[in-house]
Symmetry: C2
Subunit: 148 residues, 2 copies
């Protein structure tokens, strides 16, 4: 598996570096934005520790780190909705990655059965922040897939 | 400015909620993915505290929280590259938002002068993780804009 070198002391060097030195935060994580390679739609946001990032680069399938379960997970292992990684991009200061993926299975990334986790628009009504659904299509039934 | 109610104790309620109750982390932040409303290209990743999120929703221009400078910043205040917010989406568990923006000024989001902060592809060569530029076009000269 690929190993990662330590980031340089001087953050100004990160912008043009030719070596990828991910800046893991104090919990050992970088942020991963996941988009559909077909149309750039943002599918989900997740986190990766060094092992999840290595596994993703090594296998070509997205692996994340679950903060609530404190474990590595291969996306889609339960639901069948694997994410084949077509391209990995790093940002200027190297604390975030962008995965462009093709989905297998139900062609959906969200545990609610929707294609994207970003299925609600934030609106302001009388000074309160509200949510309004912009996508009610379920590509799968979460109860049938996750069994509860 | 819009105020935010506290998230429910039961996280399962977040998925279908009609009220936006952002789940700020232990540092008081949510993650913001920023895309270009024209073609969904991911421009940058940033963080927002409650005040930055309120200011963004209230003014229609993106405000972020700088972790390194410990301050709110209005994106583009120095460079002229403001981000007019066309749509704000929340994710299923409400700890991330997606901003779809139109950029003013140089039509660029990255401090290096590039359109997007994600301008390098991660590749593996002999077990080492390398970065390869996919965008060398600078929409502005950072030295001229930021003055150093």
């Amino acid at each position: 598996m690929p190993q990662f070198a330590k980031p340089p002391q001087d953050k100004a060097l990160l912008d043009e570096a030719a070596v990828f030195t991910p800046r893991f935060d104090d919990k050992g994580l970088v942020t991963a934005i996941v988009t559909d390679v077909r149309d750039n739609a943002v599918l989900m946001l997740a986190h990766m520790n060094a092992e999840a990032l290595s596994l993703t680069l090594e296998t070509g399938f997205a692996h994340y780190y679950s903060r609530s379960r404190d474990t590595i997970w291969k996306k889609g292992e339960t639901s069948g909705n694997l994410q084949k990684v077509e391209q990995v991009l790093a940002d200027c200061d190297q604390d975030a990655v962008l995965l462009k993926v093709s989905m297998t299975g139900h062609d959906a990334a969200c545990h609610t059965g929707r294609r994207s986790c970003f299925y609600r628009q934030v609106t302001i009504a009388d000074g309160a922040a509200m949510l309004e659904s912009i996508d009610d299509h379920r590509a799968f039934d979460p109860k049938a897939v996750y069994g509860k």
